[in-house]
């Protein structure tokens, strides 16, 4: 069975500080990977997607970047956090393209002060 793990579970960070969020998928090789952001009470906004190691496509940047250093790992980061970065960050995976179900991880809650 496939499992998806995100770390950390939650973070409180200062404006201007760096951030790194991680996501690992076990039990599935070469999945499509996605990062979503959800503002409190808001909709899900896709940030990045990746279909293979080393390749990441940006959908909406929001002064964030993403990398896929390994087949099963997806990293979201920034060098300088903004207040607007607060929210819920979700990693998701799917088998391949548009018709496949996306499976979401447990998420990371981020509060920027």
């Amino acid at each position: 069975a496939q499992t998806i793990h995100q770390w950390p579970v939650a973070e409180i960070k200062a404006v201007g500080s760096p951030l790194s969020l991680g996501c690992t998928i076990k039990g599935k090789s070469s999945p499509n990977l996605y990062w979503y952001w959800q503002a409190t009470g808001g909709t899900l906004q896709q940030l990045f997607y990746s279909i293979t190691v080393g390749q990441v496509e940006s959908v909406v940047q929001l002064n964030l970047s993403a990398s896929r250093p390994k087949d099963d790992q997806f990293i979201l980061s920034t060098e300088k956090l903004l207040l607007s970065h607060s929210g819920f960050y979700l990693c998701a995976w799917s088998l391949s393209g548009g018709q496949d179900t996306q499976y979401f991880g447990p998420g990371t809650r981020l509060l920027v002060l």
Binding site: L44, Q46, I51, G97, G98, Q99, Q102, G107
Partner: protein, 114 residues
């Protein structure tokens, strides 16, 4: 680009009554895939049901929806709401054979009361 429009805001209803959440979409592609995701409090979204076949009813866990390409709609219905149906519901769209992820609507919060 693609867009999804849902019933806005909060829907409150009494247990046992029917529920219908509207979803319409815009896309230039002829083979869209439509999804309903449900997110309970402090949980991650999970798939409720999906469809890509025109005019075919899709059912899961008492909910059903039919994709109507003629009206670009994918409304979610349930004949009898339960307390456990209280959650945030998202309609989402993706394109056939396209790796880019989902375009979500703003979400509809459903609160079911006894």
């Amino acid at each position: 680009g693609d867009s999804v429009t849902q019933t806005e805001g909060l829907v409150t209803l009494t247990e046992g009554l029917p529920v219908m959440l509207n979803c319409t979409y815009q896309t230039i592609y002829s083979n869209p895939f439509l999804f309903w995701y449900v997110q309970h409090l402090n949980e991650s979204p999970r798939l409720l049901l999906k469809s890509f076949t025109d005019n075919k009813r899709t059912e899961h866990q008492g909910f059903h929806a039919t994709l109507h390409k003629s009206s670009s709609s994918f409304h979610l219905q349930k004949s009898s709401a339960q307390l456990s149906d209280s959650a945030l519901y998202y309609c989402a769209l993706s394109e056939d054979n396209y790796a880019q992820g989902l375009t979500f609507g703003l979400g509809t919060r459903v609160s079911v009361f006894p």
